[in-house]
């Protein structure tokens, strides 16, 4: 069965796919959005959202036997629980291979993709980031700078709804923010003590896609301070495809959505040097289907978009679609991620909080800015984390039984503060994606991921451990532990790269418009396009790039150029 004649096909319905569909339909295009996973209706299908632990068969902990069998990777995600397991993939049914090194690939195959399960942190990148490759020679120079993206950050933040505090930092530019959520008393105190000793280190509340003010035009209410976002939020208080981009795109009347559609290939016509459409497998009936369009946007998630390009090779393009450079699949990145320090914070025993704030704090990068002051590393790192009081789970580590023990656990425990580091991943040719010889259950070659953190990331994490301990100690904390070795690749869930943007068609896949150098009507606007990783959470930048690319594509199409 062939679906005819769309102006654009968008592959993927996550953070960037949903936004691409919105931008393109609002510009007047007739769009087909394909999603490999099941449909999820906003609100109605958030089946665990309102459940209490005592209503769950395994009290929210989940069935460890089931997880060992079907979710061996996904269960390693701290946010994977009995409440959220239906928003993550079944690893047994969605296998991938690891070549060199290690990679834990956290995935959400469903309408809305990982927009339902993301951490919601929204940070602009700066010219320290877009200039990083040129400065130290790793990877290839970005063909854009902050000024190219700033207006698109404005537009995207306005639509998404990002709460945050303006701080006037060059390395973490201010945005178009809703009012910030407040720091708690411990975080506020630590902020002040750090600033006093290190004027260039600014602890601020996380900039998060949770509304502090309603957006009634989209039916979105403000955050209810539950902090159970990943179950799905029927208040629409955090940005997801379901809460935001899908209703906007649907309202145009120009969007067609097909779920359970695993795209297998993008079709390429060597005569016209254009892509003509895509083919997919209906995962329920196994039927093969296809559709044609004037342009294709790949938004399947960084690694899956690259996978699709690799799997779309042809006689005309034997190494994969748009891979004339030979770099397709290479230079993949994540962030090197670990808990740098945890400290007891005495002196706040008379203080507490009410409600569950759905974001932590951030201490933006302070290394390798105007001067290269990193010992063994030239990129950045930043901390996220926060201060919290313990509850009953603290009892797991304490001796005691009986009434006294029970009464002790009845009250909030000591304040503690944690700093978790995200260090920039250096783009390396050896960290790469390839097609495996093994097939998935539908007969499509699996993706093989090779990934190792390098010595620069190790050096950054060693510095981060030292600095985290120094700052928390200076703020009055007693550091109890910290680590300087990262989790395996994928731990940060910021995997990106593989179809990098660059000036030169000989060394990059995409041009500065997220458009394939070789194919004018093919755009890749998810994490695959990234040439470097910065140390900020990347989703907001993917969205700004998507909005910018969509605008360019529409202009080009209307001018008859594509």
């Amino acid at each position: 069965m062939t679906h005819q004649d769309f102006d654009a096909i968008v592959v993927g319905s996550g953070i960037t796919g949903g936004l691409a569909a919105k931008q393109l339909t609002e510009a007047g295009l007739k769009v087909l959005m394909l999603e490999r996973g099941r449909p999820i209706e906003h609100g109605a299908d958030y089946t665990t959202e309102m459940k209490t632990p005592w209503e769950m068969p395994f009290r929210g902990e989940g069935d460890a036997a089931l997880y060992a069998r079907d979710y061996p990777v996904q269960q390693l995600n701290r946010h994977f629980t009995e409440f959220t397991q239906n928003h993550f993939v079944n690893d047994a049914q969605n296998p991938y291979e690891v070549g060199e090194g290690a990679f834990t690939w956290f995935r959400s195959y469903q309408m809305g993709g990982r927009s339902l399960t993301w951490g919601r942190q929204c940070y602009r990148w700066s010219d320290y980031d877009f200039g990083a490759n040129k400065r130290d020679g790793h990877g290839t120079d970005w063909p854009i700078r902050y000024a190219d993206l700033a207006p698109w950050y404005d537009k995207v933040e306005e639509f998404v709804g990002v709460s945050g505090a303006k701080e006037g930092l060059a390395q973490l530019p201010d945005g178009h923010f809703q009012p910030p959520m407040a720091l708690n008393i411990v975080e506020q105190t630590v902020r002040e003590k750090i600033l006093k000793q290190w004027p260039d280190r600014c602890l601020t509340v996380g900039r998060t896609a949770n509304l502090t003010e309603a957006k009634p035009e989209l039916g979105r209410g403000p955050c209810q301070y539950r902090n159970i976002c990943m179950r799905g939020c029927s208040f629409g208080a955090y940005f997801s495809t379901q809460s935001s981009t899908l209703p906007a795109a649907t309202a145009t009347g120009r969007l067609t959505v097909i779920t359970n559609a695993q795209v297998e290939k993008v079709d390429y016509d060597p005569a016209s040097r254009r892509v003509t459409g895509v083919r997919w497998i209906d995962t329920q009936t196994k039927a093969r289907k296809s559709a044609t369009a004037r342009m294709v946007f790949l938004n399947a998630g960084a690694f899956n978009s690259v996978h699709l390009l690799l799997n779309s090779g042809s006689e005309a393009m034997p190494g994969g679609l748009a891979n004339g450079s030979g770099v397709l699949g290479t230079h993949i990145m994540d962030h090197a991620n670990t808990l740098s320090a945890a400290a007891i914070m005495p002196g706040f025993e008379q203080h507490t909080t009410f409600g569950n704030r759905p974001t932590g704090i951030v201490i933006p990068r302070f290394r390798n800015l105007e001067k290269l002051d990193g010992d063994g590393f030239t990129r950045g790192y930043s901390f996220q984390g926060g201060a919290l009081q313990s509850t009953w789970t603290a009892g797991e580590r304490e001796a005691g039984i009986g009434a006294e023990y029970k009464n002790h656990l009845r009250e909030p425990g000591a304040w503690r503060m944690v700093l978790v580091v995200f260090a920039e991943s250096v783009p390396r040719v050896t960290n790469r994606l390839a097609l495996s010889k093994k097939l998935d259950p539908l007969g499509v070659p699996q993706l093989e991921i090779s990934f190792n953190h390098g010595k620069e990331e190790m050096a950054a994490l060693a510095d981060a451990k030292k600095e985290a301990a120094t700052m928390l100690s200076a703020a009055g904390g007693h550091v109890i532990f910290g680590f300087d070795r990262p989790g395996p690749g994928g731990t940060a869930i910021h995997e990106m790269g593989g179809a990098r943007m660059g000036h030169d068609p000989a060394t990059s896949v995409l041009n500065k418009w997220s458009q394939a150098h070789q194919i004018d009507n093919l755009f890749v606007t998810d994490g695959a396009q990234m040439s470097s990783s910065a140390c900020q959470n990347p989703s907001l930048t993917y969205m700004a790039l998507t909005a910018r690319a969509a605008d360019y594509a529409v202009t080009q199409m209307k001018a008859g150029a594509i």
């Binding site: 068969p57 509850t391 789970t393």
Partner: protein
């Protein structure tokens, strides 16, 4: 792969089907345990009693009273908190499954009977408390953690989990608010104010 009537594949299929079905309850999951994993009446009574000793009745009900013993049986059979991980260098006398994991319930029974020099359950309530308190204290030694932590630590963790995720423990002993609706970043904490079982970050990080 069979041991004590345990067939992992059939058990997983049964549990998976049950869990997928609407209206699955812990009781039905417990009833679905294979013969070797299902607790005997004696074991159920012991797990209930031990749960109650850890979290006794105060102004609210104790852990044993609210079904934590049954939760413990289910949790241990399904391997919650890593309890189905293979044990390396198991001391003599530990009962292992074919997959190399420890039968925590049998270990507890043996250990308490050994300490009681007879039937733990036949001791007076005060003796039972003292025997369990001694076992508990030894499981949390000073200094760096031992190479082979006491299996009691996992059992105790599951007792706390069972209790504080029950309606009694979660919403009467502690406080539970499904929709706080606001964020107060600094309010006074008074002696006797109860902690929140719905503070998910606190639960997560302990």
């Amino acid at each position: 792969m069979k041991t004590n009537g345990w067939n992992r594949r059939s058990f997983l299929s049964a549990a998976g089907l049950l869990a997928a079905a609407m209206g699955t309850t812990p009781g039905r999951l417990l009833a679905a345990l294979p013969a070797g994993e299902a607790p005997t009446a004696q074991q159920s009574a012991l797990l209930r009693e031990v749960s109650q000793l850890v979290i006794p009745r105060t102004t609210t009900a104790g852990a044993g009273e609210v079904g934590t013993g049954a939760f413990l049986s289910l949790a241990l059979a399904h391997g919650l908190k890593g309890t189905r991980a293979p044990v390396k260098d198991a001391p003599a006398g530990w009962v292992l499954r074919a997959d190399g994991s420890l039968r925590h319930d049998l270990w507890l029974q043996q250990e308490l009977n050994r300490r009681a020099k007879g039937d733990f359950m036949a001791q007076t309530p005060a003796q039972r408390h003292a025997l369990l308190a001694a076992l508990d204290a030894e499981a949390f030694p000073e200094g760096p953690p031992p190479a082979q932590p006491s299996p009691w630590r996992a059992i105790k963790t599951l007792i706390l989990t069972g209790y504080y995720t029950s309606e009694e423990g979660g919403s009467k002993e502690l406080r539970y608010d499904p929709v706080p609706g606001r964020w107060d970043n600094d309010i006074p904490l008074h002696k006797g104010d109860r902690a929140w079982s719905s503070d998910w970050t606190a639960v997560d990080f302990g």
